[in-house]
């Protein structure tokens, strides 16, 4: 390209050495560079591993946590609860606490919803009168059973895996649910799919449904 851009400074050009074969000095300089490259690699490996620590450790991030007695949750109600993150440090302060919703739909039929909207993670609020969860950020709305009712979410609320042991309700929790980090690691429960749900299957990757109440009726 015949761009006329200022040439490098004259003194630098004067000092440019003629091409010559490898001398002892240039060979030693190359050895020095190679040594530094090797040491850099040795140092970089633990540094990269250190930076990636939170990712390399990620299998550990689930534990069974007791969230209360079964009798704490009256049938037919949805209650806001708080549990402590099993992987917390003393300096986490209030952020060690995690809220969630426990729904006791029918005797011994529990669902535990993550607080985070499936859209962008804001805290959804439960309105018992209209039996809806509403999100204050972008207007996502969910039915009592966690199915998406309206707004931008592309799936229902995230749910925690749960079990009842010795009269206590336990959930498998420990990480913030996002579209790829489920609240719990287990595969989607394979419920009998309802005809209505098939209508929205294109956007509900994992319908977290225990099939109570209305569902997926926003197509219209």
């Amino acid at each position: 390209m015949d761009e006329k851009i200022p040439q490098p400074g004259e003194p630098e050009q004067d000092r440019r050495p003629e091409t010559e074969s490898v001398t002892r000095r240039s060979f030693l300089m190359n050895v020095g560079i190679a040594l530094n490259a090797a040491v850099a690699l040795v140092i970089a490996t633990p540094v990269v591993a250190y930076v990636l620590g939170p990712v390399l450790r990620r299998k550990e991030y689930l534990a069974w946590i007791a969230i209360g007695e079964v009798s704490d949750f009256p049938v037919g109600e949805t209650k806001l609860i708080t549990f402590t993150n099993p992987f917390s440090d003393p300096w986490d302060g209030a952020t060690a606490k995690v809220p969630a919703y426990v729904r006791h739909a029918a005797p011994d039929e529990f669902t535990v919803f993550a607080i985070n909207c499936a859209h962008l993670g804001c805290p959804v609020r439960w309105f018992s009168e209209s039996q809806l969860f509403m999100c204050p950020c972008h207007g996502g709305v969910y039915y009592a059973d966690g199915n998406r009712a309206s707004g931008p979410p592309e799936r229902g609320l995230f749910t925690y895996e749960l079990k009842v042991q010795g009269g206590k309700l336990l959930i498998d929790a420990g990480q913030m649910p996002t579209l790829q980090n489920r609240a719990s690691k287990r595969p989607c429960p394979s419920n009998a799919t309802q005809a209505a749900q098939q209508l929205v299957s294109r956007i509900e990757a994992c319908p977290d449904t225990k099939s109570h109440g209305t569902s997926a009726s926003t197509i219209g």
């Binding site: 006329k4 851009i5 200022p6 990480q175 913030m176 996002t178 579209l179 009726s217």
Partner: protein, 497 residues
């Protein structure tokens, strides 16, 4: 030596100068000739950005003397700065307003550089470095918002994590990398502290040095004149002619305007800080306090708006693709349009693009200030039904108004100008929907409305629809189902025949 007769400070200066030998390069830099046309008020935004960056570094260091980057204590340390340390509030306000001004001035600088064609040959790399500086400035604004560790910061991180979690395949890992673990907590705050205090500012300062160095080496862009075409073969020569034959030394010819404007900007920051005070912190970052309406800072409101208007199935592709396209377009610009006309009089597409982006940004930001897409969480209990909508109604219809409030319909629907704006205002709903359509809409939902079939008893539904049917103001007729009249007429006519 003649130095003996000189005053002591001159001798000290000479002593230092003989050792550092900076006088030459500095003189070259400040006295270099610039085209006379560049001594303009339009050319002050770059230097103002630099001055604001220095202000941010200084106020940032002063805040770091007190701030605790610990999730348990950050919020309290900000409160201490606000209320207990003398003038701590002012330092916080200066840093907060300085950040606002910096983003604004950087954007104005960028628009000016774009409209003046300054990104063209040979200043392509200056522009590209500038694009990265813009990204770092926005990165500073976002990480700074996180360090103001309140409810907005906590849930803002949640939004950030949810966005990152949409990256295919490695999204889950990226979320953990971003949060420093599985959840938003102390580890998240410390890594955002490191980003905000060490990583991004370090890179930003290095890039600023490079940017200013290139401005000095390649010269300040001349005032664009229609018809003066940039050609790679001749531009440098033409520019040197402009600078040397008709030019003036940068100091003091052009610099005085930079100085005046920088002083004005600093004064404006100080005034805003003194009058409006510091930003937050808002509520304690306790995730169990869920009665919160998280909102990003002013310069990110437009993203907030865009994210609520995208249809669900477009969201992930848009979030992942649009930023890449935008940054690529900015970086690719000097390679696509690196030569040719510089004047805005001959670049209608460029002018239109800036206007279009500015209008879109303004509209989205304005919408973001009042979020019509969000349900108003307390409207059902806070906004009363207007009295005139209850006068002359039957008990059943009034009971319907009760149901309307009780079932949180008001959170999304306005009556008398109060309530949520997620759904349509219902002051005249009876003119639009017949009785049957109202039943259907309430029970089955549709068109972005949830179905209330399971949340309403038949009696409640009847009362609600009866109330809604009365909402046809100004003697407008209520809409009626034409087929019903036919059926009714048929019923009355049949016995006659």
């Amino acid at each position: 030596m003649p130095g003996h007769k000189e005053p002591w400070y001159k001798r000290v200066y000479d002593w230092v100068e003989r050792r550092v030998q900076l006088e030459g390069p500095v003189k070259d830099a400040v006295l270099h000739p610039v085209p006379r046309s560049t001594a303009s008020w339009w050319y002050v935004f770059g230097s103002a950005s630099l001055v604001l960056l220095i202000l941010q570094v200084v106020t940032g260091i002063l805040l770091a003397l007190v701030y605790q980057p610990s999730a348990a204590h950050a919020w309290s340390s900000l409160e201490l700065l606000n209320h207990e340390l003398p003038l701590g509030w002012f330092l916080r306000a200066m840093h907060g307003w300085g950040s606002n001004f910096m983003v604004a001035v950087v954007l104005i600088h960028m628009a000016q550089v774009f409209l003046f064609g300054a990104y063209k040959f040979p200043r392509e790399l200056t522009w590209i470095v500038g694009v990265f500086m813009l990204l770092m400035t926005l990165g500073m604004a976002f990480t700074g918002q996180v360090l103001r560790f309140d409810q907005d910061a906590y849930w803002g991180l949640g939004i950030g994590a949810s966005i990152v979690g949409r990256v295919p395949w490695i999204g889950g890992q990226l979320v953990h990398l971003m949060l420093g673990g599985p959840m938003i907590n102390g580890a998240t705050l410390t890594r955002f502290f490191a980003l905000h205090v060490f990583v991004i500012p370090g890179a930003l300062l290095a890039f600023t040095g490079l940017h200013v160095w290139m401005v000095l080496k390649l010269g300040i862009n001349e005032w664009p004149t229609p018809g003066r075409i940039v050609r790679r073969e001749t531009y440098i020569e033409e520019y040197n002619k402009l600078a040397h034959t008709d030019g003036i030394p940068f100091v003091p010819g052009a610099v005085w305007k930079d100085l005046v404007f920088s002083a004005a900007i600093l004064f404006a920051v100080a005034c805003c800080a003194a009058v409006f005070g510091p930003y937050g912190p808002k509520g304690v970052p306790d995730p169990t306090i869920i009665n919160t309406v998280p909102k990003p800072d002013f310069f990110f409101l437009w993203i907030y708006t865009v994210l609520s208007f995208l249809p669900p199935e477009m969201e992930t592709p848009f979030i992942l693709i649009a930023p890449v396209v935008a940054v690529s377009a900015l970086i690719g610009l000097p390679f696509v349009a690196g030569i040719g006309e510089k004047s805005w009089w001959r670049r209608p597409v460029a002018v239109f693009a800036v206007m279009f982006i500015a209008v879109c940004w303004g509209v989205f930001t304005n919408l973001g200030t009042y979020t019509p897409w969000s349900p108003k969480m307390d409207a059902w209990s806070g906004a009363a039904v207007p009295v005139e909508l209850l006068q002359g109604r039957t008990p059943l219809e009034r009971q319907g108004a009760n149901v309307f409030q009780e079932k949180q319909c008001r959170n999304c629907h306005q009556l008398g100008g109060l309530g949520g704006e997620r759904g349509p205002a219902l002051d005249a709903v009876a003119t639009r929907l017949t009785e049957d359509q109202l039943y259907r809409q309430v029970l089955l939902g549709g068109g972005n409305m949830p179905a209330y079939g399971s949340a309403l008893s038949p009696a409640e539904t009847t009362a609600l629809v009866r109330f809604l049917e009365t909402l046809h103001p100004n003697y407008q007729p209520a809409s009626q189902d034409a087929s019903r009249r036919v059926v009714a007429q048929g019923a009355t006519q049949t016995p006659v025949r």
